[in-house]
Amino acid sequence: MSGPENSLRSRLGRARGLGSAHEGVHHWWAQRMSALALIPLSLWLVASLVCNAGADYAVVSAWLSGPFTLGALGLTILITVYHAVLGLQVVVEDYIHGQPTKLILLILLPMGGVALVVAAIVSLLVIAFAG
């Protein structure tokens, strides 16, 4: 790295540290931190689903109604969808070149993600309290 005297970037720009994307390392960091959280959470979810293989409605709804499952599954789905939206956003930015399509997809992705999380949490609450 060259010193600030030789850099084309202004000293203010260097101090802000936001780079050419104007948002710094936020996206990169959020992707990694959600990935880290998902290592135990996703392993728990897949192990639980495997252990429920072939289980009937009574067993599955009883499992889903437990307070631990309710909290852990809600958290897992929330972080999974966040991680997926961040990842799909990069895929869209890299491979969709038409400006209107790209913009529409980048707007719809987080909206769809929020809708998915809300639908999942409402389902979980219905299973736990109205089942």
């Binding site: 990694r32 990935a35 897949v46 409605y57 990842g87 799909l88 639908a119 389902s123 299973i127």
Partner: protein, 139 residues
């Protein structure tokens, strides 16, 4: 490049980025592409997980109908695909996190971890399905 620009000679057009059709397949590039594909597949998998939750919330009848689909050939193939994608994305994701922390960048190490991810994916997928069938009383 500065020379060719200054004397007015147009530089020979060269490919600017590694386009897949001219890029020699290597373990490192294939594992990278598979990480994206598995991530996209798992995003669809989350949608299917939501369908499953909605089916449970809908009651015993809708749950049984979805479980019947899960047991069909197409259902089993989808679940197999998602389990391969899950274990691959999990293991290769850990590989990426190690790289981000500054470990395993040397070429031999990157190849070793690449093979480890592929073998680990196969082992974990087979283990998950053996346990799943065991749960269903298949053995």
């Amino acid at each position: 490049m500065a020379e060719s620009l200054s004397n007015g000679v147009k530089p020979h057009p060269r490919p600017l980025s590694p386009h897949l059709q001219v890029y020699k397949p290597q373990l490192t590039s294939i594992t990278s592409i598979l990480h994206r594909f598995s991530g996209i597949a798992l995003s669809a998998g989350v949608l299917y997980l939501l369908c499953w939750l909605l089916a449970v919330a809908g009651g015993a009848e809708t749950f049984d109908r979805l479980q019947d689909f899960n047991g069909s050939l197409i259902g089993r193939l989808l679940l197999l695909g998602w389990s391969v994608a899950f274990f691959y994305h999990l293991l290769n994701g850990i590989r990426h996190l190690a790289w981000d922390a500054g470990f395993g960048f040397e070429l031999p190490a990157a190849y070793r971890s690449g093979y480890a991810v592929l073998i680990g994916t196969a082992v974990l997928t087979i283990a998950a399905w053996v346990i799943g069938y065991f749960q269903m009383g298949a053995f």
